[in-house]
């Protein structure tokens, strides 16, 4: 299983990076996340007359930066199935080879995590250097941040495996499933605005999203007083939050295992592993 994970991570990195020269890849890795963040920056700056030193901006900026992991890992794993099945036509070879498929898919997710880490770091650095983002390296709670990142990767990998399993058995719009879930989570998990802004009848949806707690954990680790400024999860301590994320990761691990088992069986039974649908 470790070999599958390691090899898949290497493969995923190659796929993500070998389509262009290093300079073009670097440009892509910088421009795309920064312009995505810049949309929010311009919107915020316009309303608040450039008050980027505020806690509201830190909340929005940090949440948006780390949310990139959600789309990259979750959608990336689902997209890996589509790419391997439809574009590269190698999924059947993976199944024939002595590869642990769930670990292979998670390895592809880890590769996306690594490439996205570059984008997240650049986005945060830009915020600190040019936008008065209230983030100081000396105030970062590194232990909590590391624990949050490890828990987050595991959580997102389990969610991604669930999605990738579902993609194994669907034909139409399979390439949109990951993006759809990531887009829905963006609205409900308090990534760029506190859950209190949502209509009261939608707020419970946010509290059901595991990503909500993960982002709160990351904010507390990076810009602690920002998280203090919003009452959303004020009653939940850091350790409680970490334990909650860990429990949710375990829950999703069980869900992912069951979903993969079922979908893998269906895909093999119906001959879907080497199916090509032209998307």
């Amino acid at each position: 299983m470790w070999t599958s994970l390691k090899t898949a991570t290497w493969l995923g990195w190659q796929i993500e990076s070998n389509w262009a020269s290093p300079s073009l890849f670097a440009l892509y890795s910088i421009v795309k996340p920064l312009t995505s963040a810049a949309i929010l920056v311009v919107m915020f700056g316009m309303i608040t007359q450039g008050n980027f030193a505020s806690t509201a901006f830190s909340y929005l900026y940090v949440g948006n930066a780390f949310y990139m992991y959600v789309g990259a890992v979750m959608a990336g794993m689902a997209q890996a199935v589509v790419d391997d099945r439809e574009r590269f036509r190698t999924l059947k070879s993976m199944y024939v080879a002595p590869v642990h498929i769930p670990m292979y898919l998670m390895g592809r997710g880890v590769a996306r995590f690594l490439t996205t880490s570059l984008s997240v770091a650049i986005t945060l650095a830009f915020g600190v250097l040019f936008l008065q983002l209230q983030l100081s390296l000396g105030d970062v709670r590194w232990g909590l941040l590391l624990a949050a990142l490890v828990a987050g990767v595991a959580l997102l990998a389990m969610m991604g495996l669930t999605l990738a399993s579902i993609v194994l058995v669907i034909a139409h719009n399979s390439w949109l499933v990951g993006e759809a879930v990531a887009a829905a989570l963006y609205l409900f998990c308090g990534a760029v605005f506190p859950l209190e802004v949502l209509p009261w009848w939608l707020r419970p949806v946010g509290y059901l999203m595991p990503v909500t707690y993960w982002l709160e954990l990351v904010r507390r680790a990076l810009v602690g007083r920002v998280a203090d400024a919003y009452p959303t999860l004020a009653g939940v301590g850091d350790l409680q939050l970490l334990v909650l994320v860990a429990i949710l990761t375990l829950v999703f691990a069980v869900v992912a295992a069951a979903t993969f088992r079922r979908c893998d069986h269906l895909a093999r039974e119906r001959g879907l592993i080497d199916r090509t649908t032209n998307y």
Binding site: W19, A20, L24, Y28, V31, K32, T35, S36, A38, I39, L40, V42, M43, F44, G45, M46, I47, T48, A56, L60, R87, F88, H172, N173, L176, E179, A180, A183, A184, Y186, L187, A191, V192, F193, P194, V197, L198, N278, Y279
Partner: protein
């Protein structure tokens, strides 16, 4: 067998044949209701709530909804026009298109017309549902001018898309990533979710080469009470620029398409998948 067509009849039949799949999919494949309406709406809602969380003027909510609706056209231009010939190459159809006796321009025009019709359905849905959800009212000050702006915007956008179709094919594997790269920067520079006037004049002027920029700005000026105050240029100037862009992009599309066909036939390197 049907009668053989040539000249303008072949051109017209090709346009209709290529537009047909994009129109009939609305009936046969219903998932577009989720992926092409609900998903963009979710994104629009997120930006609306960002504005609300920070006490923005209510007119900006309408700007976001309009931007979200019009962004559907940009996504269609990028993925269903710009990247389309790349997908045709991947599936083996591109060589058939080039070998067939019809004009490639007719194929691109069919794609554009089908895409326009399909996306208009989606954009209208996003606009209607978004307006209902957030209680936004649009006060149209000049309906005729609004129609002119909208029509020119579509011609310019899809002319650009026809140009992209040939361009991105030449990039090979990089094309997909470059198309992906053209999403967020365009949404930023064209002021999809905020008035483009917030930028420096020259930045906004440079961004005006993207038809979405001036189209959105003009539409907002014509549909919002504060639109004129937040507009970049006056509507008349923006209409003139859009008309110019339409001509330029259509001519460029014709030229690039001719180059594409020449390369494909002379060098034989464009029509096979290199994935």
């Amino acid at each position: 067998m049907g009668s053989r067509s040539s000249g303008w009849r072949l051109f017209a039949r090709t346009v209709m044949a290529r537009a047909y799949p994009r129109l009939v999919m609305n009936v046969r494949e219903k998932w577009w209701l989720v992926f092409d309406i609900v998903l963009p709406l979710v994104g629009v809602c997120a930006y609306v709530f960002v504005y609300r969380a920070n006490g923005a003027h209510p007119d900006l909510i309408g700007f976001v909804i309009l931007g979200g609706a019009m962004s559907a056209y940009w996504m269609n231009v990028l993925w269903a026009m710009g990247n389309q010939l790349f997908w045709e190459k991947e599936t083996g159809n591109l060589a058939l298109y080039i070998m067939a006796p019809n004009s490639m321009m007719a194929i691109l025009l069919g794609m554009a017309l089908g895409g326009m019709a399909t996306t208009t359905l989606r954009a209208a849905s996003i606009l209607a549902i978004g307006s209902l959800l957030f209680g936004v009212r649009f006060d149209v000050s000049n309906a005729a001018m609004l129609f002119v702006v909208f029509a020119l915007a579509l011609v310019a956008l899809y002319g650009m898309g026809m140009m992209f179709a040939s361009m991105f094919l030449l990039f090979g594997r990089e094309g997909w990533h470059l198309v992906s790269l053209a999403q967020e920067p365009v949404f930023l520079l064209s002021g999809t979710f905020f008035p483009v006037r917030n930028f420096n004049f020259w930045v906004a002027a440079g961004a005006s080469i993207i038809p979405l920029t001036l189209a959105l700005d003009a539409i907002r000026q014509l549909t919002s009470s504060s639109g004129a105050a937040l507009g970049f240029l006056d509507v008349g100037t923006e209409v003139a620029v859009l008309a110019g862009l339409s001509v330029v992009f259509l001519i460029a599309a014709r030229f690039l398409l001719a180059q594409l066909e020449r390369l494909a036939i002379a060098e034989g390197r464009l029509t096979e998948s290199r994935a």
